[in-house]
């Protein structure tokens, strides 16, 4: 008599634990939304989308599609990439609200702005 009961209680415990874990996961999902992301393509010596508006906390990824290297340099010193050769990427997560102008330090006529809103 005791053995089936034990098994049952073990199963119940597993179920309860699993339920707890699932609810924890779902709570976490609700509390922390998937991080927002945005992309800026570089091509023909231009930032294809020169002005991008994003929400606070967004990670922006720049990708160099040119055969010539470029850099991503904040006008105010907030971020600065290493040199990006063809296909290389640079990411930066914006943790403050504001307008962030940037340019390519090799080809400074290439400019863009990330607008970060709350």
């Amino acid at each position: 008599m005791t053995r089936p009961f034990r098994i049952l209680s073990f199963q119940a415990a597993v179920l309860a634990a699993a339920g707890l874990m699932m609810s924890t996961v779902s709570v976490m999902t609700r509390a922390v939304p998937a991080p927002a992301s945005a992309a800026v393509q570089i091509g023909n010596f231009t930032f294809k989308n020169p002005v991008v508006t994003v929400k606070l906390g967004t990670t922006v990824t720049w990708t160099n599609g040119d055969d010539i290297p470029h850099t991503i340099v904040s006008k105010d010193g907030v971020f600065r990439s290493k040199v990006l050769d063809t296909g290389d990427r640079f990411t930066f997560t914006f943790a403050k609200v504001g307008q962030f102008g940037y340019f390519c330090s090799l080809h400074p006529h290439m400019t863009g702005t990330i607008v970060v809103k709350a």
Binding site: N44, F45, I68, P69, K75, D85, F103, L106, H109
Partner: protein, 312 residues
């Protein structure tokens, strides 16, 4: 395409746009051009001092390996072989920047080793591709700019000619073009002050010191201030690279000239959506790469610039 664009293009063509051997000579500040054949046939007038010559190499982009040139090292080696084959051996070489593609040590190393084969002194200025190490140009300066000032500028006198090496690829401003900066302009003023107006001057820098095409950043924002300081001299030659094609122009007594690259050509201004490597067929590449030979004929106060391609 607008009428203005068309006019501009025709005008640029008139500036001996893609000549495969244009010669540009000037005397007393008045420019005149003639064909390469004539120039080669003309005997150099030997006066008291022997004529001296130097060669300009530019935009070797060692490390570049994409269309239209899978091996920029090979074409640089060919350019150096062409220098060695010149009938009158130059006294020295100037390299007007973009020695490397990405400022990597091995790229600088290879360029240095290959240039050693020429057995000649080499004077450098950096291009923007030579400023890409984490320290923003130190790797280049430590190797090629010892004894220079600021971001790599300096001057020297040879055979009565005053050479000024300028840097317009450092600390570039958002939205701008090439930039010399106040510190370098101050230095230039002091540097030129000690020279009489009859001294022939050769200025070399990477990005053109006149606006070739602002839309592509092909110019130098504060070049006008440098040109003002140079205006009193009877003979000024400005040699640049960066745009990978020949352009020339005379303004007052200043003659401007840009050299071909040894790595890859770029489109003529406004003829493509952007600058960048022009993807020409393999059998045309060598016709679009080259070197520039500068010949001083003493007593003439006159400099001839002869561009020749890597073809043939």
């Amino acid at each position: 395409m607008s009428g203005i664009e068309e006019d501009r293009r025709d005008f640029l063509k008139c500036m001996a746009w893609a000549g495969t051997g244009a010669l540009f000579a000037f005397s007393g500040g008045v420019g005149s051009s003639m064909g390469l054949d004539q120039a080669l046939a003309a005997p150099l007038r030997r006066t008291a001092a022997k004529p001296f010559t130097f060669v300009q190499l530019s935009d070797s982009h060692i490390g570049f390996n994409k269309p239209p040139n899978a091996d920029a090292r090979a074409t640089f080696r060919e350019a150096i072989a062409k220098v060695k084959a010149l009938s009158v051996q130059p006294d020295f070489i100037i390299h007007t920047g973009d020695v490397s593609q990405l400022s990597r040590d091995e790229e600088f190393d290879d360029a240095e080793q290959m240039l050693k084969a020429a057995g000649l002194p080499v004077f450098f200025v950096p291009g923007e591709h030579d400023m890409l190490d984490p320290d923003g140009g130190k790797a280049f300066l430590n190797r090629f700019g010892k004894g220079s000032k600021g971001a790599g500028w300096y001057s020297f006198d040879l055979n009565g000619v005053h050479f000024v090496a300028m840097v317009n690829v450092a600390d570039l401003k958002p939205g701008g073009m090439g930039n010399l900066g106040a510190e370098q302009l101050k230095w230039l003023k002091a540097d030129l002050a000690g020279h009489s107006s009859s001294t022939p001057i050769v200025v070399f820098a990477h990005i053109p010191l006149w606006t070739v095409y602002a839309e592509w950043g092909w110019g130098t924002d504060d070049a006008e201030q440098a040109l003002k300081l140079l205006a009193r001299f009877g003979s000024v030659t400005v040699l640049n690279g960066h745009i990978h094609q020949i352009t020339q122009k005379v303004e007052g007594r200043i003659a401007f000239h840009t050299a071909r690259s040894t790595a890859f050509p770029q489109p003529a201004p406004g003829t493509a959506p952007s600058p960048g490597p022009l993807r020409v067929p393999a059998d045309q590449l060598h016709e679009m790469l080259g070197i520039t030979d500068a010949i001083f004929v003493r007593g003439h106060d006159r400099i001839a610039l002869i561009d020749s391609t890597l073809a043939a």
